[in-house]
Amino acid sequence: MTSAVAILPSQQLAALNEAYRRAVARRRWRVLLGAAVFAAALVIAAFGAEVNLKTFFTYLGNFASYFDRILKLDDGSRVWTNFGEWFWGWQKWLRLLGETLLISYVGTLIGTVFAFVLNFFAAENTSPSNWLRFVVRRLMEFARTVPGIVFALIFVIAFGLGPMAGVLAVAIHSTGALGKQFSEIVENAEMKPVEGVRSTGTGWVSCMRFAVLPQVIAGYASYALLRFEINVRESSVMGFVGAGGIGQELVVAIRKFYYSDVSAILVMIVVTVFIIDITTGWLRGRLFGRDART
């Protein structure tokens, strides 16, 4: 079957074209203006960050050759030709990686417990009083905005060098981040069960335990696992400031130009992060269905 495409008379067409042109022109102007402002900000930033394109292009070769160097053993052969030589310190490094994992595990768990206790006070629909909510929210904001490694720097001085400072830094940062996510889950919870439990005449704690908790616990576990994954990455650098884990070895290797050690430790970190990502992803999928996996 054929049908004719209606062709508008040219007068009508001209009016429509004109209107379209004007509508597009206004948007184009706005986009152009935004782009100009952005470009100006970039130029200012480039001066601020002392960007020097000449240095960049002179040294860009260094970046490639750096990776070339870290993939060579001391005798000049490629690292993968001699695994025993490449991973010569694997026992020490594995132990330190284990310490890194423990730091993030213990830190995440402490953070989860604190976030669990605090989040009911921070959520709009369950907090017993307004001023309490305000105080708890500000505290959690502080805990998650100050970077974990800054806490680590201060804790190293207060608690001494070692993984304890790293654990506490991870714990504080996790408390802030998880507290916010947890309270957002609570704010999305259904309030009817709470009314039901309250109508039996019981107190606030029972309301939380029997009406809110069953709705939110799966979400909590999912976010805590995700946080663990993030914390593994973060605790791999805690050693930079002396707060335990593999970071100490890495920073020594990089600063003292032990090239093949750098690549060996990096490979071990990346593989560990992979394994943790896949395991927690699988676990979250197992526990909470496929949606939770992303």
Partner: protein, 282 residues
């Protein structure tokens, strides 16, 4: 008063067998997992050198440090700090922009609906993952070896580590785009580039812009710490003042970081609302 009907337990049992007679594996799973988690926790505390005396004396130290921090006071170094803060903001902005510019073309290649073959997609995805597995601070150390100390190394560190994150996020955004517009372009005779430019980009760009803005905010935080390893910005000052125990200056610097992050947060969420609408952000 009316009497509730009497329960017939046997009947209820027959009706809901999975509530009354859960298998032992289901009943035991939670306590066993909790017990194992707790055991690992205790082992960790022990292995990582936790001890009550150390903890208490550390807390006392920490209390003393907090007392010393009040009131925050920059001394005579306020201009230096403001300049360092400007450096930090510049690093965040440039690093994120650079990462987004690099990631956009590569993420197109890693999206299933553009290149259906797994041959390119799989290695690219793993490549993004391994870049993301390495923390920004580590990248900063590597770049310092290449371009020397200073903020430029910080820009490159943020650019590289965000390249991994953006590659993943962008290619997921592209895969989530609607096919229909693309098919429309093809039906009207467009080639592959037209399909991407007119079918895909209008859908994907707002999402990408939102993600970039969000990352500028979170990179302000990252950029404030990469100075700790010598890659420029306010972190350098912060680490130095902590090392010499100038606590009033430390608290002032931390306050500066908090204010800067809050300001960037405010600006970027405003812009995000303007670009993709209030609803889509939440």
């Amino acid at each position: 008063m009316s009497q509730l009907p009497k329960h017939d337990t046997a009947q209820l049992r027959a009706k809901y067998p999975d509530i009354f007679e859960r298998p032992a594996s289901a009943r035991l799973a939670t306590p066993v997992v909790a017990l194992v988690a707790f055991a690992v926790f205790i082992f960790g505390l022990d292995d990582l050198g936790f001890s009550p005396t150390r903890f208490v004396s550390g807390l006392r130290q920490l209390g003393w440090i907090s007392m010393m921090m009040i009131p925050p006071n920059p001394g005579s170094s306020l201009p230096t700090y403001l300049q360092a803060l400007g450096e930090t903001l510049s690093i965040a902005l440039l690093g994120t922009t650079l990462a987004a510019l690099m990631a956009l073309p590569v993420s197109l290649m890693a999206a299933r609906n553009i290149i259906p073959s797994n041959l390119l997609r799989f290695p690219l995805r793993r490549f993004f993952d391994s870049i993301r597995g390495v923390d920004t601070l580590i990248w900063a150390l590597v770049w310092i070896n290449v371009v020397g100390l200073g903020p430029f190394a910080g820009v490159l560190a943020i650019a590289v580590s965000d390249f991994g994150a953006f590659g993943k996020l962008f290619s997921e955004a592209i895969e989530a785009a609607d096919r229909k517009q693309v098919e429309g372009i093809r039906a009207s005779g467009g080639n592959a580039l037209h399909e991407i430019r007119f079918g895909l980009m209008p859908q994907v760009l707002p999402v990408i812009a939102g993600q970039v803005l969000y990352f500028i905010e979170s990179n302000t935080r990252s950029a404030s710490i990469i100075g700790i390893v010598g890659a420029g910005g306010i972190g350098l000052q912060l680490a130095e003042q902590i090392r010499v125990l100038e606590w009033q200056k430390v608290s002032f610097l931390v306050l500066m970081i908090l204010v800067a992050v809050a300001a960037i947060d405010w600006i970027s969420s405003r812009l995000r609302f303007a670009i993709i609408g209030r609803r889509a952000v939440a």
